[in-house]
């Protein structure tokens, strides 16, 4: 999984039917210190993550489909957790 930070969301009324009503979060990808690594992902929200929160992004189709229970869903990136804290050794 990847660490990300929610920096917005994507509004889309015309989309693949599975995406109807699902929140699409715009997530910067960040490193273990929360620094922007210069990439982003659009991820389907599954935990109610809010703007500015550090999140866990699962970026793999099979896992995403299981998490969302979309057996045939065209989905890869799903927000699967909200990070409370990162402790580095």
């Amino acid at each position: 999984m990847k660490l990300g930070r929610v920096v917005g969301n994507v509004v889309s009324t015309v989309s693949n039917p599975l995406y109807d009503g699902r929140k699409l979060l715009l997530c910067d990808l960040v490193d273990e210190r929360g620094r922007d690594v210069g990439d982003y992902l659009i991820a389907v929200d599954n935990v109610g993550a809010g703007a500015g929160e550090t999140v866990l992004v699962l970026d793999e189709g099979n896992g995403a489909r299981q998490v969302l229970d979309w057996p045939e869903g065209a989905v890869r990136a799903v927000v699967v957790g909200i990070v409370d804290r990162v402790d580095l050794g």
């Binding site: 715009l26 189709g61 065209a74 990136a77």
Partner: protein, 93 residues
């Protein structure tokens, strides 16, 4: 998924099975501020209605085949999933 902009279409009358009637669009990947970034890709139009100039979001690799409406396997590795109405930026802090 990433943001992209439809900048053209591709017609390929000679193609493998499974691409019959599939609308192919040239999509320029965008960064989160909708600036072009990276090389354009040819994406299957999973919605059949994405038009020239529209901002879309697309999925890659195996999931692209799942995004296509045909009930047969469509051999594409990028496919448009939705049309973007708005990208709302809110860093939250």
């Amino acid at each position: 998924m990433k943001l992209g902009k439809v900048i053209g279409t591709v017609v390929a009358s000679t193609h493998v099975d499974g691409l019959e009637g599939v609308k192919l669009l040239i999509v320029q990947p965008l960064d989160k501020k909708r600036r072009p970034k990276g090389r354009p890709v040819v994406a299957g139009d999973g919605l059949q209605i994405a038009g020239y100039g529209e901002i879309v979001y697309y999925v890659s690799s195996r999931e692209a085949a799942l995004a296509m409406p045909q009930n047969t396997f469509v051999p594409v590795d990028d496919a448009i999933v939705g049309i973007v109405d708005e990208v709302h930026e809110d860093p939250g802090r």
